[in-house]
């Protein structure tokens, strides 16, 4: 015992923190699909409003960030998978930077590491819940009375109601974290975080096209689905051109422009994700067997963009709550340098960032400060692309998918590169993998950031891209399981999946 590692401090908690048991036997293919869909359904069912909160009246400053994390304002999914994703990124990077000593080859260390991530996720959910509750986030605007200064008043719930909200959000976040663990431990197709992001993105897309729920706006009732709204317009409005025009441009709820942007993003992302560099490999055991090992352009998939936006989400939650909580303190001058939020005058559904440091790295529409609004798109683009590219550069080394890890894996499977000696395999792979992961991160983040920063995209580009890339990772997991275990023979799904 030379020193006490941080990981060892977690050990006492290991027995206290709820944990998903590893499956006793290998789960068969069909069951895995059922588990995945059922878990996603449970996740989506959590999208009910928290007790004591009217989610249709919440003024939401994070709407452009939350779509890619499967979160919904004012519901049990207030944070979505964000705490789990953030803690996973955080600890994995610390471990990769050797700031946290983990021996990933030892099972007990791996378990401790998982517990550490889980506890961090629980704590993050708890802390965010406290921050949001005390920054009056859950208090709906009172549109009928005004305060002395003339701004809209807030209806304030009691202390009991506030603590109830905190408890509810903490517990629901714990449930989400455990649901993620369920898929990660081999009951379904994972990574769990990506599975729920996919489910949520697909749901968002489906409901923004055909959502039946109606809400009351200043112009009367409107449907949440863009196509439904188009139909409603065609029936109710006298002029057809106006009906179509309105369906494309409405500001509340999804409009048809956003739906078409999402569909275009769907096809573009799929095309980009299928670009790959093929290395010819051959087996060392069987002579004459040669195939290709594809290195994808989007080597890290959705992760670089997701990482950047999780940082933005974190900064925004902390910044927003700090400015609201400290609104009456004497240091507000300095704190408001972080960011300044104003109520969107038209919809009264969102706070827009319009100043401060966070404005520079946001996709907010406009600012009262002209200089800031001119440089904002550039700083936002720069920030997102830089952080994502840096992440794309370091992530393979941290997750063990860098050249050395791949070379080791190939060697275990008795595969070698054609025309290379064993020693040179890692070096040769490194020449391909690191540019791939870096430029993949560069391209995906540049597309997302560009789409977000011009026009009022409201996170649609981000959520679709991340949703599809996440879906592709899940798909890969499914397909590799399908091909390797020979599930094709005894599965109910054989008519849907390509058998090759």
């Amino acid at each position: 015992m030379s020193e006490i590692r941080l990981l060892d401090l977690i050990k006492p908690f290991q027995s206290v923190v709820p944990e998903v048991q590893l499956p006793y036997e290998k789960i068969i293919f069909d069951e895995k699909i059922v588990y995945t869909v059922a878990a996603a359904a449970i996740y989506l069912l959590l999208g009910l409003p928290v007790n004591g909160v009217d989610d249709s009246k919440i003024v939401d400053p994070f709407s452009w960030l939350r779509s890619g994390f499967g979160s919904r304002a004012g519901t049990f999914l207030e944070f979505g998978v964000f705490p789990a994703a953030f803690s996973a990124f955080f600890w994995q990077i610390l471990a990769g930077k050797k700031l946290l000593k983990v021996d990933f080859s030892s099972p007990s260390d791996r378990r401790l590491f998982q517990t550490l991530q889980k506890i961090t996720s629980f704590i993050l959910g708890f802390v965010f819940a406290i921050l949001l509750v005390f920054s009056d986030y859950f208090e709906p605007l009172d549109l009928f009375s005004k305060t002395e200064e003339g701004s809209l008043a807030l209806t304030s719930p009691s202390v009991v109601a506030k603590s109830l909200i905190i408890v509810e959000l903490t517990v629901s976040n714990a449930i989400v974290t455990l649901l993620i663990e369920l898929l990660d431990k081999g009951y379904g197709f994972g990574p769990g975080i990506l599975a729920y992001i996919t489910a949520s993105a697909a749901t968002t897309l489906a409901t923004s096209m055909f959502g039946l729920t109606t809400f009351v706006t200043s112009r009367g009732k409107e449907s949440s689905g863009a196509f439904i709204q188009l139909g409603r317009n065609l029936f109710s409005s006298k002029s057809w051109t106006y009906a179509v025009y309105e369906a494309f441009t409405r500001n509340i709820g999804a409009n048809l422009t956003q739906v078409y942007v999402a569909i275009a993003a769907f096809f573009a992302t799929l095309y980009l994700s299928n670009c790959r560099y093929e290395i010819s490999v051959k087996s060392t055991k069987v002579r004459g067997m040669s195939t290709v090992y594809p290195v994808k352009l989007l080597y890290c998939g959705a992760l670089p963009v997701l990482f950047t936006f999780s940082i933005l989400y974190f900064l925004n939650i902390v910044g927003f709550t700090l400015t609201k909580i400290c609104a009456n303190s004497k240091y507000i001058k300095y704190i408001s340098l972080i960011g300044h939020w104003t109520l969107d005058a038209e919809t009264k559904k969102t706070y827009n960032l319009d100043g401060g440091i966070l404005y520079l790295i946001s996709a907010a529409p406009s600012s009262s400060n002209l200089v800031l609004s001119i440089i904002r798109p550039f700083t936002f683009l720069f920030f997102v692309v830089m952080v994502s590219t840096y992440f794309g550069k370091i992530w393979p080394f941290m997750s063990g998918s860098a050249a050395r890890g791949v070379a080791k894996m190939l060697k275990e499977q008795d595969i070698t590169l054609v025309g290379r000696r064993d020693v040179a395999v890692a070096k040769e792979l490194g020449k391909i993998i690191s540019p791939a992961s870096r430029s993949g991160a560069l391209f995906s983040s540049a597309i997302v950031a560009f789409a977000e920063c011009c026009g009022r995209c409201k996170g649609i580009a981000f959520s679709t891209c991340v949703g599809i890339l996440a879906g592709l990772s899940i798909m890969e997991d499914i397909v590799s399981e399908w091909q390797q275990t020979g599930a094709a023979a005894n599965s109910q799904f054989s008519q849907f999946l390509p058998t090759q």
Binding site: V37, A40, A41, L44, L45, G47, L48, P49, N51, D54, T198, A199, S200, A202, T203, T204, L205, A206, T207, F210, G211, L212, T213, F266, F267, L270, Y271, N274, C275, R276, Y277, E278, L297, I432, P435, A436, R438, S439, L442, F443, I468, G471, L472, I474, M475, V479, F496, L497, P498
Partner: protein, 66 residues
């Protein structure tokens, strides 16, 4: 001075490498692409239907609890 040059050269070199990589990449053929679109489309549709149904279930629950 040399350091400065290195600093400005790095991004250019990086972008060059990226473009080079793209050129070397194998683009998906039409058949592959359609197959992928179909597979992902089915997955997305499945999840979309599940999510949509759950949204429909939400409507009565919301009426009950709010």
């Amino acid at each position: 001075m040399a350091r400065k040059e290195k600093f400005t050269n790095a991004p250019v070199l990086f972008v060059k490498q990226g473009i080079q990589f793209i050129h070397k990449c194998k683009k998906p053929s039409q058949k592959e692409y359609l197959q992928l679109v179909r597979a992902v489309g089915i997955g997305f549709l499945m999840m979309g239907v599940v999510g949509y149904l759950i949204k429909l279930i939400h409507i009565p629950i919301r009426y009950l609890i709010v």
